[in-house]
């Protein structure tokens, strides 16, 4: 029997409401809207250092696998660098989902590469929440497809099992709902897209969802933390 009152529910997290028309393509005579991160920011990003980013909480650690299949401690990777961290699953095909997250991080890395003194202080971490399909080898291939020949401080992590990744997801409140109906057998996931800005003391300083997941914003937030660190290291300079 067909369930009554069939409904559709959205876990959009700002997807529809904050996204200006940045690009459109015809699809069944209807338009596709892309998240702000795919295009030009519709306002001027506040200048780096003109605002504060108060700490939200300590960024959690956890044992994960790197793309070589070796166990790594996330807490160790969060030391001494400013980190942009995002959760994805590799087979995500929602243009405003995981691909957006990866593209934005790649763009941030590209921009900061032009300022090596900044680039060397930034670390990118992408963590899969789909360990069944995203093996270390698959993540290595994914990394190559993203980075090409570029040398970036970008870690592509996965885990040994759902049980291993779940506490990390819980700690970051990155809730994921599995949809087991994927016809390709890989399954899909519902999740709110989030990227975390983490300072050198492993404190979460900002969380981005679709509305503000834009390279202009992230670059200036990273620079804001770097300026803050510089000011703390050299108060006299900062006072000038």
């Amino acid at each position: 029997m067909k369930p009554r009152g069939a409904i559709g529910l959205a876990l959009l997290g700002g997807l529809l409401f904050s996204a200006p028309l940045l690009a459109a393509e015809k699809a069944d005579r209807q338009e596709v809207y892309l998240a702000p991160g795919w295009g030009k920011l519709s306002f001027d990003a506040p200048p780096a250092g003109s605002y504060k980013l108060p700490a939200l909480e300590k960024a959690a650690g956890g044992t994960l696998l790197n793309s070589s299949g070796k166990r790594v401690e996330l807490s160790e990777l969060l030391q001494d660098h400013i980190t942009l961290l995002g959760f994805i699953y590799r087979t995500c095909d929602d243009v405003n989902g995981c691909p957006l997250s990866t593209m934005v991080l790649r763009t941030v890395a590209n921009r900061l590469q032009k300022q090596p003194q900044l680039a060397q202080r930034l670390r990118l971490i992408t963590i899969s929440f789909d360990p069944r399909n995203d093996t270390p080898q698959a993540m290595a291939e994914y990394a190559r497809s993203i980075m090409g020949k570029a040398t970036l401080n970008w870690h592509f992590l996965t885990s040994e099992s759902d049980e291993q990744i779940q506490p990390v997801l819980d700690a970051y409140q990155q809730y994921v709902v599995a949809d087991v109906s994927g016809k390709d057998g890989q399954g899909k996931f519902s999740h709110i897209l989030r990227v975390y800005l983490i300072d050198t003391q492993a404190q979460i300083r900002n969380i981005y969802s679709l509305s503000f997941l834009h390279p202009d914003i992230l670059v200036n937030d990273v620079k804001t933390l770097l300026l803050e660190g510089d000011a703390a290291a050299s108060p006299a300079v900062a006072a000038q």
Binding site: L11, L16, S42, P46, Q173, V177, D179, S190, I207
Partner: protein
């Protein structure tokens, strides 16, 4: 068998393919950071004031089954009392919609309910009882507005003079204090431009337009007024001077105030348009009975303008809650004193026209409408000391359907007869948000198979 829920990745695609942004609708008053219910909601959670001499006399979260397909349709299926009276007022979900934060304007306590483990039976997850101390003296947590991974909470008052000077306070989704943002005053504009006569520092509601990096706040009154008997306050000339007369534009990303607008007469709820090119928000002033428009002009400068009267302002109908439709074509406006809901055509936001009105009860405050605008729910209570007295103090939850021309009553819950309390703010719940099947749907499937 068909899936009763559309998974996120598919739904996002479906919605994105729909022409324009005309598909979003209290769902129409929720944060744009919020997960949305776009189909039939299963539950309405009513944050309810405990009433002395009624039932257990405690504030409580009342869960009402509103899905017509449910065997429990129209019934109170769960109540959760919080152990006392706090002047229960507003509530709001976290951005992942797993938790519902609800505040008490008197005690400044905040109750965080888990609504995801079993949407039919919320449970108390955490109580914040040091909001005043943590925030640096902010009193009366009012609006709970989800931002990415955090909650923006507006205050109504302060612990120094219990007047209207107040702030917004940020908490992490885990319930940890982050920061306090005081509203600009003449003494401390904090970089804001004062565009008119006032910079009173009062607060009430908050809404955002992320695409314009804009955040807006309105202004009400402090603890000394909202806890006073309504009749006594109206007769107190000094008390009546202590109402907000401003709205403020903030930089959403930096949390810095940018411009203070004069808006005399206590602007309350703010509702922003959804369409991508509609850079404007509405609010209404309680004491002067006007609809105000906050809009970005052709030069990209934010302005404020009174665009319509609500009823006869000289009779002070006291507009309270408002709700904008998903396509930005209509605005529901409730007036407390005459118990009416009024529907304004706002297709021209600069010239709203009232096209419908209906008396819902002896007193009326809140409205929540479904995403598609076909269902509207109403509750009665404003503030414990401001609600009407005697038999005029009706306390209800009423569920209507709206066919575009007429509101039709589907069912009502008498909160006094049920010994629940005074019905205030409503929020929608649904199994599908958490990947859960409706239990009765599952039974139907089993029976059909």
């Amino acid at each position: 068998m068909d899936k009763p829920y559309l998974p996120f990745y598919k739904l996002a695609t479906v919605l994105l393919l729909l022409a324009g942004f005309a598909v979003q609708a209290d769902e129409t008053c929720m944060s744009p950071y919020m997960a949305k219910i776009v189909g039939q909601e299963d539950f309405v959670y009513v944050w309810t004031l405990g009433e002395e001499g009624l039932g257990d006399e405690q504030d409580k979260l009342v869960t009402i089954d509103v899905n017509p397909a449910s065997p429990n349709y129209g019934q109170v299926v769960h109540t959760l009392s919080v152990g006392g009276r706090n002047e229960a007022h507003h509530s709001g979900f976290s951005d992942d919609r797993r938790y519902l934060w609800a505040g008490g304007l008197d005690t400044s306590k905040i109750f965080i309910f888990d609504v995801h483990s079993d949407p039919a039976k919320p449970k108390l997850h955490k109580t914040i009882d040091d909001f005043v101390a943590k925030s640096g003296g902010v009193v009366g947590p009012h609006t709970f507005y989800a931002l990415a991974g955090r909650m923006m909470i507006t205050g109504l008052s302060n612990n120094k003079d219990h007047g209207g000077r107040t702030a917004m306070v940020e908490y992490s989704n885990k319930g940890e204090y982050i920061a306090t943002h005081w509203h600009p005053t003449d003494d401390s504009l904090n970089g804001a431009e004062k565009s008119g006569k006032y910079a009173d520092g009062y607060g009430y509601d908050v809404r955002v337009l992320p695409r314009r990096n804009a955040m807006f706040t309105s202004s009400f009154t402090g603890w000394s007024n909202y806890m006073m008997d309504f009749g006594t306050m109206l007769a107190d000339e000094e008390a009546m001077k202590r109402f907000g007369n401003t709205a403020v534009l903030w930089d959403l990303h930096t949390r810095k105030p940018k411009k203070v607008f004069d808006m005399p007469g206590a602007p309350l709820e703010i509702r922003c348009a959804w369409q991508p090119n509609h850079n404007y928000c509405f609010t209404t002033t309680a004491l002067t009975s006007k609809i105000w428009l906050l809009y970005e002009d052709a030069n990209g400068v934010w302005q404020a303008k009174a665009v319509a009267d609500i009823g006869d302002p000289s009779k002070v109908p006291l507009p309270v809650d408002i709700s904008i439709t998903s396509d930005d074509s209509g605005l529901w406006v409730q007036t407390f004193m005459d118990g009416k809901t009024r529907y304004f055509d706002i297709t021209d936001p600069f010239a709203p026209k009232q096209v419908y009105e209906k008396v819902i009860g002896a007193q009326l405050n809140m409205i929540s409408q479904s995403w598609d605008g076909k269902r509207a729910y109403f509750t009665s209570s404003l503030l414990d000391n401001w609600d009407k007295k005697g038999d005029q103090d009706e306390q209800f939850f009423k569920a209507y359907t709206w066919d575009g021309k007429e509101l039709n009553l589907e069912f009502a819950v008498d909160f006094k007869a049920e010994k629940l309390g005074s019905a205030h703010q409503m929020r929608f719940g649904a199994y599908g948000l958490y990947g859960l099947q409706r239990p009765y749907a599952a039974r139907d499937i089993a029976a059909g198979e």
